[in-house]
């Protein structure tokens, strides 16, 4: 199967479909800001921070076959690093003068802490914070990945252990109320270097920064997917032993891609904190981590753009649905999980690829370039095959 995977290689090498990326860019940078008021746009910005995680999951899970149920950990660590910086800024001695010890965050005061803990100290500095936002989660991911992948723990066991790590971190954050803000998280964040993050202008600005960062991550992910590493990942997903026997150090590729996924999640977490104004353990635990996986699955686990659209759609549905029918939402969510897994293993991207793209292709067939021809031929070959959902045959979604 290693060399027959009808996956990305032949299509990708000819065309990325840049117009799809331009379409998304137009949607995020022009259409949405013009169409939505700032409240809704801020909401979209919040959803987009989850899309960072989903893109990382496309690389780890879709391409590499490493399902992590602990992406919330990296999202949360990134978010907490940013939140600690903002919180320290918000608790300068003047504004916390009514506390028994002014100058420390309010929740520490409530928990009878009189001194800033040592690991909070460096977060006075913006430079350190910006590095820590990426470095802390990536280091954490690196440790986990080295421990697991060099010992060839994979698949199901990896999923369960990452889930346990998410559970551990949540319990730790909730338990250590004095150091972390406990179950409420770090709240009441106001300024970033003296710049009010809650004003309308700064929310617009943050939205655009967020969208730009998302695009940067998308491009990095696209590059990884299309370079040799991406092909090796797919090969490892299909037949890990053969790649190993071909002389590749499988573990190091997995470690790298897992760290990349963690870095994306961390950027998302930091942007989440900036846009929403708080961070809490409810974005770290098992439930949000699994929800992030489903965002990716709904969009299509093999498609980077699908992950972004999937995240947006599921969250939009969640918000509008749970506003009007709160008790039905869990039913719908559950059905979505089951439906995506059973009926559309390739998610929205798979549906698009199977039903819409051939039609578009047929309409624009006037002057077929050789590239398009080969793609069309392959599409025809694909559709003539029985659409069994086995692992090997689910590789035909492009970015």
């Amino acid at each position: 199967m290693l060399f027959q995977t009808n996956s990305d290689a032949p299509q990708d090498s000819n065309s990325v479909g840049w117009w799809k990326y331009l379409l998304l860019a137009a949607l995020l940078f022009i259409v949405l800001p013009l169409a939505l008021d700032i409240f809704r746009l801020n909401l979209v910005g919040k959803y987009l921070t989850y899309a960072f995680v989903a893109i990382g999951l496309v690389l780890c899970w879709g391409c590499g076959g490493i399902l992590s149920l602990g992406q919330g950990v990296f999202f949360g660590l990134g978010g907490y690093c940013m939140a600690m910086f903002l919180k320290l800024e918000a608790s300068d001695p003047e504004s916390t003068a009514i506390q028994s010890t002014p100058g420390i965050p309010d929740f520490m005061d409530w928990n009878q802490l009189t001194e800033l803990p040592w690991f909070w100290q460096p977060f006075h500095s913006l430079g350190f914070t910006l590095i820590a936002v990426i470095a802390v989660p990536v280091l954490f991911a690196f440790i986990i990945a080295v421990a697991m992948f060099t010992r060839r723990v994979g698949g199901v066991y990896f999923a369960i252990i990452t889930q346990a790590i998410a559970a551990i971190l949540t319990i730790l954050i909730i338990g250590q109320q004095g150091y972390t803000g406990g179950v409420n998280g770090i709240t009441d964040l106001r300024t970033f270097l003296g710049w009010d993050i809650r004003s309308e202008f700064s929310q617009y600005l943050l939205y655009f920064i967020n969208a730009a960062l998302l695009f940067a991550c998308l491009m990095v992910a696209l590059y990884i997917k299309r370079c040799k590493l991406g092909r090796l990942l797919v090969a490892m997903r299909e037949k890990e032993d053969r790649v190993r026997f071909s002389g590749y150090n499988v573990a190091s590729f997995k470690i790298f891609i897992f760290c990349i996924g963690a870095a994306f999640a961390a950027i998302g977490g930091a942007m989440f904190t900036l846009q929403v104004g708080f961070m809490s353990p409810s974005f770290v635990g098992i439930v949000p981590s699994i929800e992030m996986v489903i965002f990716c699955a709904v969009g299509g686990r093999l498609s980077l753009l699908g992950a972004v659209y999937g995240t947006l759609l599921v969250n939009l549905a969640k918000t509008s649905f749970s506003e009007s029918f709160p008790e039905l939402w869990l039913f719908a969510m559950g059905a979505l999980f089951i439906g995506v897994v059973m009926a559309f293993p390739d998610g929205l991207a798979g549906l698009y690829q199977e039903h819409i793209e051939p039609r578009i292709k047929r309409r624009f067939k006037r002057k077929p370039s050789p590239a398009v021809k080969s793609v069309a031929a392959e599409q025809a070959a694909d559709s003539s095959k029985p659409t069994s959902p086995s692992v090997e045959e689910r590789g035909n979604a492009t970015a």
């Binding site: 399902l67 149920l69 421990a147 697991m148 010992r151 060839r152 723990v153 698949g155 199901v156 066991y157 999923a159 369960i160 252990i161 889930q163 346990a164 790590i165 559970a167 551990i168 319990i171 730790l172 909730i174 338990g175 098992i286 439930v287 699994i290 996986v293 489903i294 699955a297 008790e327 869990l330 039913f331 969510m333 559950g334 059905a335 979505l336 999980f337 089951i338 995506v340 897994v341 059973m342 293993p345 959902p389 086995s390 692992v391």
Partner: protein, 308 residues
């Protein structure tokens, strides 16, 4: 940290904590047995396992309600009826789920995880709609209440002893089923080599269904036993699922003995540490240790030596 206590008190503390640990152990074993069959033998990641347990608990609750309003004279024995009902209903639901969902996903273990997570969300909301968001508890018959004093300071609750006894019986029952019964032998044959098992005339699909149903049924009985020591809410199942998976994985997924041993280790560690640290820190330390050991020994404590 021990200086504040006399030696008699320390003995009592360790005895009481040890006993609390034994109850936790029973709970873990009951939860993990069903999963050891479903995950360990069949390789299906059933994230809805907790919800199957809660179903057993709710059935016990309904049975106790029924007995106290309609058959008060038989109330002392309602629990045995409840347990049987819990087994039958959850096993039937398990068989249905296997037929509708799981059998299409045997080749994709990671996808069973997502699909059963969806199932667990649906079941949770179903419980919330039917029984309300409030936790429910059953009223115990008189002979299960109170506690038994071993010495002046050491007391053990009777319902705890009952749950432990039940655990021992169920564990042996599962052991015998898997080792001696026709279904157990067929299950192990199918797991080891599906094609060969089919070739010698085993109906592999039926074996799969019965095995999954058996695992779910045991979860139901576990939930039923839970009502003896605690109350039940719609989301209680989700709280246990990580612990349960860790117990099964830590013990070595395909070994029942390993499951029991790892449940014992984890529960004793946790309940002993709980006395000296806060509950959450004890839990964090226990889980961290388990994860750490799993990183060193990925196949778990007791793993079968097989060629791969």
């Amino acid at each position: 940290m021990f200086a504040d206590y006399t030696s008699a008190e320390l003995t009592a503390i360790f005895a009481m904590q040890g006993f609390a640990g034994l109850i936790l152990f029973s709970v873990f074993v009951l939860m993990a047995l069903g999963l050891a069959i479903i995950f360990g033998q069949m390789g299906v990641i059933n994230m809805a396992h907790g919800e199957f347990m809660i179903l057993g608990a709710y059935i016990t609750y309904l049975t106790s309600q029924f007995f106290s309003s309609h058959l008060p004279s038989l109330f002392d024995g309602y629990f045995f009826v409840a347990m049987l009902l819990a087994f039958v209903v959850t096993a039937a639901l398990g068989a249905l789920v296997e037929w509708l969902m799981i059998r299409h996903l045997y080749k994709r273990p990671l996808d069973t995880l997502l699909a059963t997570w969806g199932l667990s969300l649906i079941l949770q909301q179903l419980y919330r709609t039917v029984f309300g968001a409030r936790e429910v508890g059953v009223s115990l018959p008189d002979w299960l209440m109170g506690s038994y004093a071993i010495t002046d300071i050491i007391e053990v609750p009777i319902n705890g002893i009952f749950v432990m006894g039940l655990t021992i019986i169920i564990t042996f029952g599962v052991y015998l089923t898997m080792q001696k019964s026709r279904l157990g032998k067929q299950t192990r044959a199918v797991v080891q080599n599906r094609a060969m098992a089919g070739a010698v005339g085993i109906n592999t699909e039926r074996v799969d269904r019965y095995t999954f149903a058996l695992g779910c049924g045991i979860a139901g009985v576990a939930g039923s036993a839970f009502t003896m020591v605690g109350s039940t809410g719609p989301t209680a199942g989700q709280l246990y699922i990580v612990d349960t998976f860790l117990v099964v994985v830590f013990g070595g997924a395909s070994s029942l003995l390993g499951t029991v041993a790892s449940a014992f280790t984890i529960s004793q560690a946790q309940s002993t540490m709980e006395f000296f640290l806060s509950g959450s820190m004890a839990k964090v330390l226990t889980l961290l240790t388990v994860v750490g050991i799993l990183m060193l020994r990925p196949q778990g404590l007791f793993s079968l030596k097989v060629r791969r």
